[in-house]
Point group: C2
Chain length 206, copies 2
């Protein structure tokens, strides 16, 4: 049990760049075809590295997958900025909903949530991956909750509202929406899910 946060103590500038290239290629491929559908050979080729490099930076495919999870967590949160940090009024929530819908539209509804897809594929077969995904979702949920708490503190949201619960419900709607959007190749489910979440939040407005 060693900390997952520090990954490889000594890395040259060049080393960091190579490692980064590998993780990015792997993340892209695993998003498109799933983890099982992505061979180390695929990653190798896409990143333009040799197989010894892969195993120089990652002890195994499982370790690479963990790095991909960390990478996608950052990517998902970053893609929602700056809106995600400012969900402190209904207008901001609406802007964020539009952003999420736009992102899914952009990719033609191919692929669901980068974290959600990994979660579905890995939860039952890789406990460590599951843990990291739980942490990733928690950060996302916390960002939403913080905005709602700010709304509440400033008196826009009823004191009866539970920002933690509302945040969980909103994330639930996003995940379900993205999953159905991916299967159906249609943005409606994401929009519908988020509209429901926002309507639900609105019932707690003052």
């Amino acid at each position: 049990m060693e900390a997952v946060t520090d990954e490889g103590p000594r890395l040259t500038r060049k080393g960091r760049a190579t490692r980064q290239r590998i993780v990015e290629a792997a993340a892209q491929l695993m998003f498109e075809r799933g983890v099982a559908g992505t061979s180390t050979e695929d990653v190798r080729a896409a990143a333009g590295v040799s197989s010894s490099q892969l195993y120089h930076y990652f002890a195994s495919k499982q370790h690479l997958v963990r790095a991909v999870i960390a990478h996608q967590t950052e990517a998902v949160l970053a893609a929602q900025e700056p809106q995600l940090s400012r969900l402190d009024c209904m207008g901001a929530l609406e802007a964020w909903r539009d952003l999420v819908v736009a992102l899914q539209t952009q990719r033609g509804c191919e692929g669901g949530c980068p974290l959600g897809s990994l979660a579905a594929e890995l939860s039952e077969i890789d406990p460590d991956a599951r843990q990291e995904l739980v942490a990733g979702f928690a950060r996302w949920e916390a960002a939403i909750r913080d905005g709602l708490t700010a709304m509440q503190r400033r008196g826009e949201l009823s004191a009866r509202a539970d920002p933690g619960l509302l945040a969980l419900q909103t994330l639930t709607a996003v995940q379900g929406g993205l999953l159905l959007s991916q299967v159906r190749r249609d943005v409606d489910p994401v929009r519908a899910g988020l509209d429901m979440a926002l309507s639900h939040i609105r019932t707690f407005l003052i």
Copy 2:
């Protein structure tokens, strides 16, 4: 492009039983470990058949997967009966929510939605499977919608309410809830998601 509905013209009683055993074993294993995590050898052993039998009943693993999707669609809908067919008042909706939560609790939150998991894993890599999953979700959604339409027809639900949209939103909440429940190993997300959906429906009560 041949019809998927008629699967193998001539099947002896014994043949049907064997085929059934294979599909059930495969469905179980694929639910637990994912499609990619389940080898034909695993299925073979679990079903107690020889590999020639597997390929006697299914042309390939992909074909077996389609049979599993069909099987899980029936199973998911059947598991929600009789509640699912009678979602025509708030009390019935609440009973159904409790049932879904209870089912997820029973399995210790291991595994998400049998259809949703398949959807996440297969949508991008198996177009035929994706299509079948779309059809499966559509049946589920239609069942919910029919209940809401009944409520509306009988005057309990506002004429402004869109049963189709509400059904999609409810299904979205279920899927997101089950996914998060699976990663977190905690029923809260399913309950939260369904509570939100029901609250949302309540805002259209007369």
